[in-house]
């Protein structure tokens, strides 16, 4: 938003006619400028309406329709008011999926952020091979999700998994946790894998934020005795705050809708212990072919995301105003 307005004013000021020129020619040029502006905006608007507006509107409408396999052939989708919503909210596992969504999102964000920040701070001090190591940390981002979850399934396997093999090799420890097959642990394991996936994003953005903090501040602080923890508390953290809010809010919006990690690891199980609103919605639409109820769940998720999107926009505007 802010960028666009800056761009257009600069274009306008550059093409503003000098006072000595005839008025007619100036008006023609003005019109041309406007046309050029419109020509640049139209593709973006068309794209947004086609690929963002239409699906969202369609999804909202589907939430109020009885939309099944039949609809695809006959084109008939009777309006059913709020019955899809009452059906999904009344579903025995809805409360559980909502709570799981909250736990999954909160757990993932806290873990990703804490570890991402720790690693960013670690790499802020340059040392031999730091560049190579830093790029290696991006690996989880590069691995196809489905391959990543397949490997994690193998690592977390109860009987033959690498993790339990390592645990059993530790003397004095008699542990064999059912990482993915016990309802108490499965959500923890899934959150753990999602944290692993989210670290690169958090680290990269936070590292960028750290680079922006002027070195002089630390030098000045050091003269006043602010080193180590106190330097972090009074220099790094306040300077990093705008970046932190962006990372956290974007993280929440991304994490709320995570689907593939859970599908790949546990498919929402065992006994629905890792079922979130997004996996529940997927299940309704693409396994039980009840697209209406699936859309209703999707809309509930959109509403929750929207709250955080608004928070993000408000924070962003405040930052620009400042």
């Amino acid at each position: 938003m802010a960028d666009a307005s800056v761009g257009s004013t600069s274009v306008a000021s550059r093409t503003a006619p000098p006072a000595s020129e005839p008025a007619g020619r100036g008006a023609g040029q003005k019109l041309r400028t406007r046309l050029v502006e419109v020509a640049f905006i139209v593709p973006a608007v068309v794209y947004l309406v086609l690929f963002f507006g239409y699906p969202v509107v369609k999804n909202v409408l589907m939430g109020f329709q009885e939309y099944t396999t039949k609809t695809f052939y006959t084109g008939e989708a009777p309006w059913v008011g709020l019955s899809n919503y009452s059906a999904v909210v009344g579903n025995a596992i809805f409360d559980r999926t909502l709570w799981n969504t909250v736990l999954f999102t909160a757990g993932s964000i806290v873990g990703q952020f804490a570890l991402g920040l720790a690693i960013a701070l670690f790499f802020h001090k340059r040392f031999a091979l730091s560049g190579v190591l830093r790029s290696l940390i991006l690996l989880p981002w590069l691995i196809p999700m489905i391959a990543g979850t397949a490997v994690w399934r193998w690592i977390l396997d109860t009987d033959n998994g690498a993790l339990n093999r390592i645990l059993s090799a530790i003397p004095g420890l008699d542990l064999n946790p059912n990482w993915l097959t016990s309802p108490q642990l499965a959500l923890v394991a899934v959150i753990g894998v999602n944290i692993w996936l989210g670290i690169p994003f958090n680290m990269t953005i936070l590292y960028g934020g750290l680079q922006e903090i002027p070195e002089e501040l630390y030098e000045a602080g050091a003269l006043d005795g602010a080193t180590g923890w106190r330097a972090f508390r009074h220099i790094t953290w306040p300077m990093l705050r705008p970046v932190v809010t962006v990372v956290l809010v974007l993280g929440v919006v991304y994490t709320l809708k995570v689907l593939d990690v859970i599908l790949g690891l546990t498919n929402g199980g065992p006994a629905n212990s890792t079922q979130t609103i997004s996996t529940f919605s997927y299940d309704m639409s693409f396994r039980q072919f009840d697209f209406g109820q699936g859309a209703a769940l999707g809309n509930i998720l959109i509403l929750i995301s929207l709250v955080f999107a608004v928070v993000y926009l408000r924070i962003n505007r405040k930052a620009v105003d400042e």
């Binding site: 695809f72 006959t74 579903n91 025995a92 009987d159 097959t181 065992p270 006994a271 039980q288 072919f289």
Partner: protein, 415 residues
Amino acid sequence: MARQTARSSARRTSKRAGLAALLVLPLALGACGGGGGSASSGSSDTLRVLDYYNSDPNKTLWNDAIEACGKTVGMKISRESVPGESLIQKVLQQSSSKTLPDVLMLDNPDVQQIAASGALAPLDDLGIDSSGVADGVLKASTYEGKLYGLQPVTNTIALFYNKKVLEAAGVTPPTTWDELKTASAKLTQGEQYGFAMSNVNTYEGTWQFLPFMWSNGGDEKDIDTPQTAAALQLVKDLMDSKSLSQSSVNWTQADVADQFTAGKAAMMINGPWNFGTLDKVSGLEYGIVPIPVPQAGGKTVSPFGGEAWTVPQTGDEDKQKKAAELVQCLNSDDNEVKISLGTGTVPTKPALADQVTSQNPNLKAFADQVPDLRARTGELGAEWPKAATKIYTAVQNALVGGMTPEDALKQAQNG
């Protein structure tokens, strides 16, 4: 930044033009593709066939059969094979754009749902002869009294056992539930579990549980019954006594086969589609028996798998007739035998069983079950997915969710 912008703006313009060209490219390609596609489907002497047999041996065998049948009925064939999981998606998409193929293969539990949408033509009206096919199989393809699909071959699940391991332990393959429990306990040693099956939270888990449920008189219309609870108790007992790994709640049937071939399970519930994988493992000798029944002398009732061939409503009556002829040809006795032997399945016509089992004895345990096979959609039709979801949910709740089988089934049944 600002200084740089001015300098690079000229360069950027040409870049933009390049980008624009790139964006337009897929559109142009798409248009070409669409044009080509509709041209081939428009010709009156070509039948469009859609299936998911996209890997060998199915791919080649079916291709030969379809091409040969095409010659028989005097039509050219334009065949498309999509990955299994995207078939329904494709069918729904084609339904809404009215571009359904002339001949469509569907997994048998999906036939009634697609028939209910109105997209399929009743085969009786097209003069299809379904005599000789097992009743259970026909039931899966029948919706509101009309037959919508014809299924040439089928498969089901049975108990696979590792011959060497059972011999070494002095265990004979179990035939009853009690025998299954004692045999599994005896075969569980070190890193080897006695028994393996899939209890995953998808339809695959439901499919594996059905033989226990049905053989004990359980029914999908109401799963809150003592019969179904007893079946679920059996699986729970096997897991609680550590004869069955808790990981089975996360295992697909392919994972179960991996456990078996790796020597981590002495017995498993699985199907004949694993023959290829099992035969590749050197030194592995396996036998196959029907899934154990509650009491001696009882009968195993298993669900059946496999795909049916259907004729979608395309609006072109002449072509639909030709398509029906093609479906009839694919279901000829010769084709059933040939494809059964080639793909490790059994013919849906019980009369043909001997021709197949005499050449591949491994198929006997499966062929014997054909007359008693039960369709998953036989009772509930298009409502089956809801019941299947209830069943696997109850199984998971009882096995690892800390509920008793009775409570788990009651909760699932009442939604």
